[in-house]
């Protein structure tokens, strides 16, 4: 395996290129050329393609991009080049199983295949969403207490003790440690102290992340994020996160948030960049698993047709060609207390589960507002497990997505659909959903059952 210090050396000595030229002449032009070369077209009525040739072409094109471009160091404005052998070794080294958590609460994530006998696992929480400190603890418990949830994640603390958190400021250390204190406390209260976590979400710079690499906070059996910047870029701050895990042993989750409609152009180019991002993240992020979280350039949400296409194509590309542990984020446009959130979550959960991913969610209301709760995570798991139990085919998953899309697509043309904050959909004392929210959930569940989903 490539010595990680070699990656740092290359970031310091690789060929110089301005960032604008990396974006346009390398990433955008290569994506454009590969889209033409592989002749793949996006079909808004086939958000889950059943054509294996498309998934394979996306994989091959992404592989070609990774070998040809490598990564870009924003800190040094240099290209971090990799040989084809190094990319191949990174693929061979992708973990096929990964234990997270400890004791009876530990779970084993596996690299899923299409038609996998093993169901996906579920990370519960609203990843990265700003959550007020006054209800951070009940919020995380609302997910941890859900029996179908296997692993925990959380939002971001934006204030501690009434003080505004600023990235890179010493208070980021305090906020990230406070987040982990709440998480560990939440796990104990939910009776699942050994549950694995994807946390340190309050660490936007490397400061917070470094400050919680301690068994009292983020244990070696937990994971943290090592982002890939848009597109195919790294910087020293994020490389520090990976370096810090070398001896301590934290699990690295690579996070490329490919912009659909960004440098890759439409969904096809974006899926190609997503594949390439994972292949370079194997080396630059020392990724143990990969987060699948494309972002729509205008609507953000993962439930749009374009993003569903990217998710399903990327998931299938890896499941067929190079199985990897992929965890797909669900970031619906709508917030808690709305029916649309439940429809969006159902569509996303079915597509993700059938195309080889594990699931994480939900970053309700675009993950912008604290309008999220454990109930939609329960629903995410129920829908995904139903698709697994029904042995849903790719074609059927597409049919489900097409049935669900008209139920929520209007939220993309209106001024959002933010719903309500956590404290208005859950009772903060009992940490249970309020009646109206539970009734709404039951109503949608009945509706989808009547449509044939075995939830």
């Amino acid at each position: 395996m490539l010595n990680y210090l070699e990656v740092l050396d290359r970031a310091n000595s690789g060929p110089y290129l301005s960032e604008e030229n990396w974006d346009l002449e390398k990433v955008a032009m290569t994506a454009r050329r590969l889209v033409k070369k592989y002749k793949v077209e996006y079909d808004p009525n086939e958000v889950v393609t059943s054509d294996p040739a498309i998934a394979d072409a996306i994989y091959q094109a992404g592989y070609e991009m990774a070998v040809e471009l490598g990564a870009y160091s924003r800190s040094t404005e240099r290209i971090i080049q990799f040989s084809q052998d190094e990319i191949d070794q990174g693929i061979r080294d992708m973990p096929q199983t990964l234990v997270m958590g400890e004791g009876k609460d530990a779970r084993t994530l596996r690299a899923r295949r299409l038609d996998d006998d093993l169901p996906p696992l579920f990370f519960g929480g609203s990843p990265g969403t700003p959550i007020p400190e006054r209800y951070f603890l009940p919020n995380v418990i609302s997910y941890m207490q859900e029996p179908l949830i296997d692993l925990a994640t959380c939002g971001t603390l934006t204030e501690v003790d009434g003080r505004e958190v600023r990235t890179g400021n010493p208070i980021e250390i305090v906020s990230t440690r406070r987040e982990l204190q709440y998480m560990r406390q939440g796990l104990k209260r939910a009776g699942r102290p050994g549950m694995g976590m994807l946390a340190a979400q309050s660490s936007v710079s490397e400061l917070g992340d470094l400050a919680v690499a301690h068994p009292d906070y983020l244990r070696p059996c937990d994971s943290h994020l090592v982002p890939v910047l848009n597109e195919l870029k790294m910087d020293h701050r994020n490389i520090s996160r990976a370096v810090n895990s070398l001896e301590y042993g934290m699990i690295n989750a690579s996070l490329p948030c490919v912009i659909v409609g960004g440098l890759g152009g439409g969904p096809v180019g974006s899926a190609i960049i997503n594949v390439a991002s994972y292949l370079i993240a194997n080396l630059t992020c020392l990724a143990d698993y990969h987060i699948l979280h494309p972002i729509h350039v205008r609507h953000v949400a993962t439930s749009t047709r374009e993003v569903l296409w990217v998710i399903s194509a990327t998931g299938q590309a890896f499941a067929r060609n190079a199985p990897a542990i992929i965890v797909a984020d669900i970031y619906p446009k709508s917030g808690a207390g709305t029916k649309e959130l439940l429809y969006e979550t159902a569509a996303n959960a079915i597509v993700n589960a059938v195309t080889g991913s594990h699931l994480e969610g939900c970053g309700s209301a675009d993950g912008n507002l604290p309008h999220c709760s454990g109930l939609e995570a329960r629903w995410m798991a129920e829908c995904a497990l139903a698709s697994h139990k029904m042995k849903m085919t790719l074609k059927e998953a597409n049919e489900w997505a097409l049935k669900l899309l008209p139920k929520y697509e209007h939220v993309f043309t209106q001024d959002g659909n933010p719903g309500l904050p956590f404290d208005q959909v859950y009772d903060l004392q009992t940490i249970q959903p309020k009646d109206f929210w539970l009734e709404m959930y039951e109503e949608v569940k009945t509706e989808l059952k009547d449509m044939g989903l075995k939830v």
Partner: protein
């Protein structure tokens, strides 16, 4: 419309910098008024690109390429404008210093707004990401800018936008600049609360707002 102007427009829409330069040169050589080339050629092409982006037909690379083509053509047209019209610099709607504030490295939203403002005729100096607030103010002072456009995606970076406005006040410079703010979590209420001049929900609205506030 003249064939020459049609070629200028097409070059901008295609994001072809060479064609933009060549068509601008040909149009000038054919005796077209540089102001007409600017307004009926370059700006029309830029408007078209903006509309195509908003409708989802164009993506970020097309927007960035159109910006490059526009700049290449302007390098040809601007000297002719200066020669023919005294004070032709007034054709530029205003100078904008754009940046993603310190600690935040997200740039897609800022890039889109910067490209759209350029396409709308503003002189945009894009300082990039993770830019210290002091440097942003210093750059605006150095360039004599009218607008400071700030972006922060992260909620924990947003306070630095507030800090910049406070620093402008402390340095007695607040009234000199129109401060526009943006980012996924930025709301009108928040923008108003920190004393910004405005925010917009998308790039097209940002251009409209900049035009309104600067009186262009």
């Amino acid at each position: 419309m003249s064939e020459h102007l049609a070629k200028v427009i097409a070059a901008i829409i295609d994001g072809d910098a060479d064609a933009a330069e060549e068509s601008a040169q040909t149009a000038l050589a054919a005796g077209l008024d540089p102001l007409q080339i600017l307004n009926e050629g370059l700006m029309r092409g830029a408007d078209d690109v903006g509309k195509r982006f908003e409708s989802g037909e164009y993506f970020l690379p097309e927007l960035m390429l159109a910006g490059r083509a526009l700049k290449a053509a302007m390098d040809i047209v601007k000297p002719a404008l200066l020669e023919k019209y005294a004070g032709a610099d007034s054709q530029v709607k205003g100078t904008v210093v754009a940046a993603t504030v310190q600690t935040d490295i997200h740039d897609i939203g800022k890039n889109i707004v910067a490209s759209m403002l350029t396409a709308a005729g503003f002189e945009v100096v894009d300082m990039g990401v993770d830019v210290p607030i002091k440097s942003i103010i210093d750059k605006a002072e150095e360039l004599g800018a009218q607008v400071i456009a700030l972006s922060a995606l992260l909620t924990t970076s947003m306070p630095f936008i507030k800090d910049l406005i406070e620093l402008l006040k402390a340095r007695g410079l607040r009234e000199k600049y129109i401060v526009l703010v943006g980012g996924a979590s930025v709301t009108e209420e928040w923008a108003k609360g920190i004393g910004a001049d405005g925010t917009a929900r998308n790039a097209a609205e940002a251009v409209k707002l900049a035009r309104e506030l600067i009186g262009a």
